[in-house]
Amino acid sequence: MAHLEVSNVTKRYGDTVAVDDVSFSAEPGRILGLLGPNGAGKTSTIRMITYITVPDAGGIRYDGETVGPWSQQRMGYLPEERGLYKRLRVKEQLVYLGTLKGLSKAEAADRADHWLGRFDATGWADMKTEELSKGMQQKIQFIATLLHDPSLLIFDEPFSGLDPINADLLRDIILELRREDRTILFASHRMEQVEQLCDDICLMARGDVVLRGPLRDIKEQFGKNTLVLEFDGDDHFVDQLEAEGRVRVNTRSAHRAELTLADGTAARTVLDRALAATDELYRYERTAPPLNEIFVEVVGEDEARRMQEEAATAPAG
């Protein structure tokens, strides 16, 4: 299993620079999260990795060689916008897409059977794709991505539009692929998904990489300046702390608050106030900031807000 290296890649469309001198790498057995708002250059980058387009400058190497038709046969790509040939029957569709990836017809048919079985979908083989429900079509799409046993997998917003059951199924499959030492690229603008799954991250904004490295290192680098509190009773102390400029509120509900300590505020201060104000304190935890907060710090408030609005309007995943 092999390593993917993106080095100093630039891509322009007319006067727009979609990707500007971007470098990162992805390792086998690890999941690389490619993060960033829409328009950050994620999809443009992915299209170059999948050799759908070519960079204007820089290079992309997989397993030591520049990507090309040869590497297309070794990668599986699940695009953000998904689609299948509506009028083809399920198995026929899988066999066709498999042969385009270099499988023989017989091989593709065998593997389609195997995967349909694995997804409890053997009965769908002869149905027309358009007769399937949205969720069923998603499963077929995963199978098409995995059919040719790719060593590099690229998932662009894989959870968008998925019902919870299929989302769990996909998560299990991604983790299984990771155990099999495949190289996995996972693009998303949803931080919590990336945080759950990824080993490494590469944060993009406006065509640039603004932050990259192993997730754990990045979190450590940003220190343990976050507090999580769970409590019963009066929560006015949170407002007071915020008003005094001692903390910033990340998320908040009736019985829970996630706070970022302002510079110079001792964590102890917050604990004292909480103990004094609440009836009961169930949890007090000092921890590394969530990815969301790191992102805010790196790209600035405006960009971060834009991104969160996008995340809010995107279908739940």
Partner: protein
Amino acid sequence: MSAHKIWLILSSEFWRRVRSKAFILATLLVPVGFVILAAAPALFGYLAEQTDERVVALVDETDQLADSLAAAGGDRITFESTDAPIDSVRAAVRSGVYDGYLLLPASLLDGEGEATYYSMEGGGLTLRTQIDGMVDRVVQERRLTSAGADASVLSIVRSDVSLSTRKLAEEEGTTADSSLALTAIGYAMAFIIYFAVFIYGQYVMQGVIEEKSNRVVEIVVSSVRPFELLMGKVLGIGAMGLMQMVTWAVLVVGGFSVAGPVLALVMSPEALGVAPDASQQAMTEAAGASIPTIPLDLVAWFVLFFLGGFLLYAALFAAVGSAVEQQQDAQNLLLPVMTPLIVPILFLFFIIESPNATVSVVMSIIPFFSPILMVLRAAITSVPLWEIGLAFGLLFATFVGMIWVAGRIYRVGILSYGKTPGFREIARWVTYD
């Protein structure tokens, strides 16, 4: 570029369409409809005329032909001589006393002037042919007699009447008669290519739009090059079109070979204006229910120019399809594709009239027009091999250039969503790396 990938796409595109119910139905029903349409007028015309017994007023200014004509008219046409003034004869025709009147000017016997048949309804085709034949024969005989032809000559001419008309038709047929047929064939071929390029080109465009709008295209181009997808699709639909047309040709020829004998059974030779002992071939031809023999080289050029024209235009249809997300958005962009396809249709009659005029030659060599116009010229006149070769060479070269341009538009277009681009935007795509 991988020929194997193109082949995979080609066969998938081909089979997925060919086995659809709509395709099978169209392929089977169109020729049936065609045979019925072609044979029906002949049959109806025949039935209509057979039921009528015609009464024709004869204004014979030569005063010599009435008797012979009356004899020639037999049961079906009664010629009634009249000396009444033309106006009253006309009135009689209008009021329905006569079906029409035949005017034979005095000069007819000197080989000048012409016989004229007047009627309210213009007369059926068969009736006109019959009267024409009768007048011909009667005048010829009379003139021979008055020129002092020997009785033996007369008897030869008379006994040969039916035979000689057939001979004339066949001998001159290689020039005059079949050139008429070939004009019809050329005209038909030109229109078939026009419609085929138009319809199959639309199939290509629809296919591209469908792939783009349901987003499957991104998966496909992560497996094959966009150009391979474009070529596979165009060739696959081209193969489908060729197969459909070959099937139609076979069914139509087969249909006529059944329809011919059927017509021969129900019709009598005289009704068709051919000799009583005419062959079945001659009869079906006269009835308009047969296909004249088409020269093989013309068939070959037809196929080559159809394929060339289809490939050229399909590349353009595909480029347009790649730029839009739904069919309706394509209207504007289709203008530069449809215009060169329609222009040759405007020149059809000019070329039929003067196939060898400089304009005709030039128009038929221009690549965007040659699929329609060169095939037409090849059918109706003998086109020098260099002209037709040049036209095909240019067509092929243009196709290569256009598929390159189309490929570059396509590769950007299939991944561009949002606002429908204008021509300037599309032109810019060609320059993208």
